[in-house]
């Protein structure tokens, strides 16, 4: 009779540690990607169309965050928030760090995409009497967001990978959960491989989703 490899039994036995870890990874990544994208689009708009006093704080923010390792960012959120009197869970601090990181990257992507739209597009919007807000919503953003889709998918997968750094501040995401299991059964290679496979699956799902959206909104 066929016997499945014994480590699969171990995986099944570890499901109550691994599954929550997997969910935590998905949750904090999703939270960071969604919030970071919204924040990033707003920052990108201000960087592109704002006056200098509006652009300045966002410029400083984007340059500062992009010039800092995500790891440092996560640690900073974890240690600085309580020091500033904000009681925040390790998960919250980690998700905040990832969000700030994601937003700074999305901001620059959005700015680049908006600036790449020919000036004639905004002029055509003006010429038919659209206000700036209407042009933004109906002319500029639909074009810019199409443009950023592939880069945005790339940034999102970076966030999922960066979420492993939360293990250092004690968030039991997929990597830390895996390490806890390995500490029990010493099946180092097998469980790291398994964790790697799960990370790959999350990112592959994001890429498939991105490709699907890209195909749906592609212009003839």
């Amino acid at each position: 009779m066929y016997q499945p490899p014994s480590w699969l039994h171990e995986v099944w036995a570890a499901r109550e540690t691994l599954w929550p870890g997997f969910l935590t990874t998905v949750q904090c990544s999703a939270l960071a990607i969604v919030c970071g994208t919204v924040l990033g689009v707003i920052a990108g708009l201000v960087l592109t169309y704002g006056r200098w006093w509006g652009r300045l704080p966002f410029r400083i923010y984007v340059d500062l965050i992009r010039g800092t390792p995500v790891f440092v960012l996560v640690l900073a959120c974890f240690y600085m928030a309580p020091a500033l009197g904000w009681q925040i869970s390790a998960f919250g601090a980690g998700a905040l760090g990832l969000t700030l990181f994601c937003a700074s990257h999305v901001a620059e992507i959005v700015r680049g995409a908006l600036q790449a739209i020919p000036a004639g597009q905004l002029e055509a919007g003006k010429a038919i009497g659209l206000t700036f807000r209407q042009s933004l919503l109906n002319v500029l953003l639909p074009q810019a967001l199409r443009q950023i889709l592939p880069t945005w998918v790339n940034s999102s997968t970076e966030i999922v990978k960066a979420s492993t750094l939360l293990s250092v501040i004690g968030v039991a995401e997929l990597l830390l959960s895996t390490q806890q299991i390995i500490a029990r059964n010493f099946m180092t290679l097998q469980f790291y491989l398994f964790a790697g496979l799960l990370f790959f699956l999350i990112n592959y799902a994001i890429e498939l989703l991105g490709r699907h959206i890209e195909k749906r909104v592609a212009l003839p």
Binding site: P118, E123, K126, A127, I128, G129, L130, Q134, L219, P220
Partner: protein, 262 residues
Amino acid sequence: MTDTPVTTDQPLLSIEGLHKAYGTTQVLKGVDLSMQRGNVLTLIGSSGSGKTTLLRCVNLLEEFQGGRILLEGQSIGYNEIDGKRVRHSEKVVAAHRAMTGMAFQQFNLFPHLCALDNVTLGLQKVKKMPRDEAVALAEKWLDRVGLLARRDHHPGQLSGGQQQRVAIARAIAMNPSLMLFDEPTSALDPELVGEVLAVIKGLAEEGMTMLLVTHEMRFAYEVSDQIVFMNQGRIEEQGPPKALFDRPQSTRLQDFLKNIHF
């Protein structure tokens, strides 16, 4: 916005002492121009003479520093309040812009929308027209420029000439009181120029008031009531096409016409 009653003898468009500078470079050095309803006026001149800039000042795609532009009696862009120039709010500027339509050299169709939606966008967002009404009107104008069959095509699927005709339909559907054409055929392959000029000529014959910038001299000659020759930011000479082309007065216009064959 102030509503001034429109009398028939009041010019539709009147430009008084228009000055425009990019930094220290004077582009328009005091331009006076007036247009009656139903007239077709063409601006000609060598590049850098300020004709495109003048056109773009009329719908405030360019800001100007001195003088004023009145369209249907309404001051475009700025108001004089106690001797100070005050710019209109964005809402008023947008409303004024909707009074003119514009066809661009590069068409500037919205690439993410099909031909029909390029036309309906302004109708729905600016005129607040219900979708079905906007579609019906857009179809009427696409038919008018001969492109109803292409209503679901995106700009990328249309030739340059077809794109420009959609762009004209997009502008005309808004029912502007003045149409601006900024070198509408300059970016087209020679064999596509004719179809666009035919559309513009048709509109002129229907009584559309139009201000054109073009290098198509034969077309300007045929379609215009007035031709204005610009040189170095000023109007050098103007008159009906026949008089202007047959008996140019200024040496600059004589030189300009010497280099043009039609």
